[in-house]
C-alpha cells in the first residue's frame, strides 16, 4: 500500500482532444509496471497526471493511499525521468544529482556525500565533476536515474528513457534498470512504445491505444492471452485468419474460415455467427501435416534470423502468413515456392471478435 499508485477513472481532455479516458488500474508497491502503446496514445499524458504536471479533467490519483488532487509535483512522493532527461547542463554531474537534496535544504557536505554514493550505485564513480555534456548517452541516462533516486521517491516515473540510445546500450540499460528496481524496491512506472522492452522488464504491462487501456497483465499473459485485436497485434507478431464463429463449447470456438474450420480458445464476448479473427503466433505454426488444425500456404521467402528462420507464405485466401522455425529444426523448413502444410494446436490460437 505504502508505495502503490491507484488510478481511478482518470480522464484528460485538451480542448477538443480526448487524450486519456477512463483509466483505472493499481500499481502495487515495488512493482515494475509498464505502459505500452503506440505514439500519441496518451502515455506521457497519463504519466504527467501521476507526476502532478497535469490536472486530470476527471478521476483521482492515489499514491500510497493518499489522494494527490491539488498537490504540485514537488509535493508528491514521485520523481520523473523525462523523455529528454532534462539534466541541468551548466551544473556538474554531482550538483545535478544533489539538486533535489539542495532543494530540501540538505547541507553541502552531506548532499555531496550522498551524490557520490549514488554515483557508485549507477556505476559512475569518479564522474562527479564532469558536466552532463561531457558524458555519453548511456552515462547521461544513469545520471538522470541517480538524480531522481536522490530524493528517495516512492514512485519513479520513466518516460521512454531509453529511446535515444542505440540497440546494444538499450539492452544493457534494460537489465540495469531492472536490477536497480529490484535493489531499491521503488515502484517503477515505465512508459515505452517498444513492446520488447515492456515484455522484457516488467512485472505487469498495461497496453494502451487511443487513450484507453486495452488490457493489463503479466508479459506472458498478454502474449498468450490477448483480449482485444489491438493487443494481439501490438504485442508480438501474429497471424490473422478471418471467419465466423460456427460453434462455442468449453471455452473453445470453432471458426469457419475460408481455409476450412479451425479451432482456438474463445476470447471474451463471443457469439455464434459473429465475425471474428483467429490469431496464431508465428512460433505456434509447425511445418508438416497432421495436428489439431492445419492449413496450407505458398512459401514466398525464408529469412534466416539466427536463432530462428521466418517463413513468409501466402494463404489460399490471399492473406500473408508468417511461421517461425527454430534454427535447430531448419531441416524441416519448406522450400521456397512450394505449397507447404503447417499445423497448430487449438490451445495456441485465440479467437477474438472484430472490433
Amino acid at each position: 500500500m505504502s508505495r502503490s499508485v491507484q488510478l481511478d477513472r482518470v480522464g484528460m481532455t485538451f480542448g477538443t482532444t480526448r487524450a486519456v479516458s477512463d483509466v483505472t488500474f493499481t500499481v502495487e508497491d515495488g512493482e515494475f509496471f509498464s505502459i505500452l502503446g503506440p505514439s500519441g496514445c496518451g502515455k506521457t499524458t497519463l504519466l504527467r497526471i501521476v507526476a502532478g504536471f497535469l490536472r486530470p479533467t476527471e478521476g483521482t490519483v492515489l499514491i500510497g493511499g493518499r489522494d494527490m488532487a491539488g498537490l504540485a509535483p514537488n509535493r508528491r512522493p514521485t520523481a520523473m525521468i523525462f523523455q529528454s532527461l532534462a539534466l541541468f547542463p551548466l551544473m556538474s554531474v554531482r550538483e545535478n544529482i544533489a539538486f533535489g537534496l539542495e532543494a530540501r535544504g540538505v547541507g553541502k557536505a552531506e548532499r555531496s556525500r550522498k551524490a557520490d554514493e549514488l554515483l557508485d550505485v549507477v556505476a559512475l564513480g569518479g564522474f562527479g565533476d564532469r558536466k552532463p555534456g561531457e558524458l555519453s548517452g548511456g552515462q547521461r541516462q544513469r545520471v538522470a536515474i541517480a538524480r531522481a533516486l536522490a530524493v528517495e521517491p516512492d514512485v519513479l516515473l520513466l518516460d521512454e528513457p531509453l529511446s535515444a540510445l542505440d540497440l546494444k546500450l538499450r539492452q544493457h540499460m534494460r537489465a540495469e534498470l531492472r536490477a536497480l528496481q529490484k535493489r531499491t524496491g521503488v515502484t517503477f512506472i515505465y512508459i515505452t512504445h517498444d513492446q520488447g522492452e515492456a515484455l522484457a522488464m516488467s512485472d505487469r504491462v498495461a497496453v494502451m491505444s487511443a487513450g484507453v487501456v486495452e488490457q493489463i497483465g503479466a508479459p506472458q499473459d498478454l502474449y498468450a492471452n490477448p483480449q482485444t485485436p489491438f493487443v494481439a497485434g501490438f504485442v508480438g507478431e501474429t497471424n490473422r485468419i478471418a471467419g465466423r464463429v460456427a460453434a462455442l463449447a468449453g471455452g473453445i470456438a470453432t471458426v469457419d474460415t475460408g481455409l476450412g474450420p479451425m479451432r482456438g480458445r474463445a476470447g471474451p464476448g463471443l457469439a455464434e455467427g459473429q465475425a471474428v479473427k483467429l490469431y496464431v503466433r508465428p512460433e505456434a505454426l509447425t511445418p508438416g501435416t497432421g495436428g489439431e488444425n492445419s492449413l496450407a500456404a505458398r512459401v514466398e521467402r525464408v529469412d534466416f534470423e539466427g536463432a530462428f528462420a521466418l517463413a513468409h507464405g501466402r494463404l489460399a485466401d490471399g492473406e500473408e502468413m508468417i511461421a517461425s522455425i527454430p534454427a535447430t529444426r531448419l531441416a524441416d523448413a519448406p522450400g521456397i515456392g512450394t505449397e507447404a502444410a503447417f499445423h497448430f494446436d487449438t490451445d495456441h490460437a485465440v479467437v477474438l471478435a472484430d472490433a
Binding site: P73, N74, T78, M80, A86, L87, F99, E102
Partner: protein, 293 residues
C-alpha cells in the same frame, strides 16, 4: 578569411574587406581619433589654431576633475544609469520569462506587438507623452487625487520622471536579449527542477538565470549604455536637480562653444561606460562574443 575567399573568390573578397575597413576607419576610428585630438587641445580663437598655444595638454580633463558640480553630475549619471538598468531588468525579467516559457504563441504574439507598436513613434514624442502624463496638472496626478491616494499633486518631474521614461524607452533593449536566451531553455528542465522539489526562486536562481545569463548581461549593457548616453528624457523630464552629464556635454558644444572641453567630457563618459560594461561582462563571466550573438 579563407572561407570568404573560397565562397566569393579573390576579387569579391577584396571588395568586402575594403568596404569593412572603410567603414571601420571612416565611421568608427576617424571620428573617435578626431575627438581625442580635440579633447587634448585647448579651445582657441581661429586665428591661434596651429599657433604656439596650440599644444597637447590634459587641461580639459583636469578642468572636469576640478569642477565639483560637473563631477557630481558625472557620477550621478553613472549611478542613475545603473538604477535605470536595474529597474528595467526587474520589469523585463518576469515579462521575458512569461513570454518565453509560459505564454501561448498567440498570447506572446499579441504581447510583443503591444510592446513594439509604441516604438514606431519617435523617441522624442514618446518622452513627450510621459511629460504630459507626469505633468503637475497632468492625468496621473488627477487619477491619484481622484482615487484619494494623494491629497495634493506631486511634482513627478525630476529623478522619478527620468527613471520612468528611461525604463519605458529601453524596455525592448532589455526584453529581447533576455527573451531570446530564455526561449532556448528546455521547458523540461524547469519541470525537472520543480519535480525534484525546488521552489520557484530556486528554479530561477539555479536553472533559469544561469541559462539566460548572457542575455541578461547583454540587456543590461545595452540599457546602461543607452541610459548613460541619453539626452531627451533628462532634458524633458528632469528638473535642475536631476541634470544628466550628456546635457553638460551638449552645453559645452552648443552653448559654451568649447568643443574641446565638450570632446574631453564625452570621452570621459565613453571610457567610463566601457569600463562599466567590461566589468559587468567580467562579473557575469560572459565574453563579448556571446553578447554579439
Amino acid at each position: 578569411m579563407r572561407d570568404l575567399v573560397q565562397r566569393f573568390g579573390g576579387s569579391l573578397t577584396t571588395v568586402f574587406v575594403a568596404l569593412v575597413l572603410l567603414w571601420m576607419v571612416g565611421m568608427v576610428l576617424a571620428p573617435n581619433l578626431l575627438m581625442i585630438d580635440y579633447a587634448l587641445r585647448p579651445n582657441l580663437p581661429p586665428a591661434q589654431i596651429g599657433g604656439p598655444n596650440d599644444h597637447y595638454s590634459l587641461a580639459n580633463f583636469t578642468y572636469l576633475a576640478g569642477e565639483a558640480t560637473h563631477r557630481a553630475i558625472f557620477f550621478k549619471t553613472i549611478w542613475a544609469s545603473a538604477i535605470v538598468t536595474f529597474v528595467t531588468l526587474v520589469v523585463c525579467y518576469p515579462l521575458a520569462f512569461w513570454l518565453a516559457q509560459r505564454a501561448t504563441p498567440a498570447q506572446a504574439g499579441l504581447a510583443i506587438l503591444g510592446l513594439v507598436i509604441p516604438f514606431w513613434i519617435n523617441e522624442v514624442l514618446r518622452t513627450l507623452a510621459w511629460y504630459i502624463l507626469l505633468a503637475f496638472r497632468g492625468p496621473l496626478n488627477a487619477v491619484l487625487l481622484a482615487l484619494g491616494l494623494i491629497s495634493e499633486p506631486v511634482r513627478w518631474a525630476g529623478d522619478g520622471g527620468v527613471l520612468a521614461a528611461m525604463t519605458y524607452a529601453y524596455i525592448l533593449f532589455m526584453l529581447f536579449p533576455i527573451y531570446n536566451s530564455m526561449e532556448s531553455l528546455e521547458a523540461a528542465q524547469i519541470e525537472a527542477a520543480r519535480d525534484l522539489g525546488a521552489k520557484s526562486w530556486r528554479i530561477h536562481w539555479r536553472v533559469v538565470i544561469p541559462h539566460a545569463k548572457a542575455g541578461i548581461a547583454t540587456g543590461c549593457v545595452f540599457t546602461f549604455m543607452l541610459a548613460a548616453g541619453s539626452y531627451i528624457a533628462p532634458s524633458l523630464l528632469g528638473s535642475p536637480g536631476s541634470r544628466w552629464f550628456t546635457e553638460i556635454i551638449y552645453n559645452w558644444f552648443f552653448e559654451g562653444g568649447d568643443w574641446n572641453r565638450g570632446a574631453a567630457y564625452a570621452l570621459v563618459l565613453l571610457v567610463l561606460c566601457l569600463a562599466v560594461v567590461l566589468a559587468t561582462l567580467k562579473l557575469a563571466r560572459v565574453n563579448l562574443a556571446d553578447v554579439t550573438k
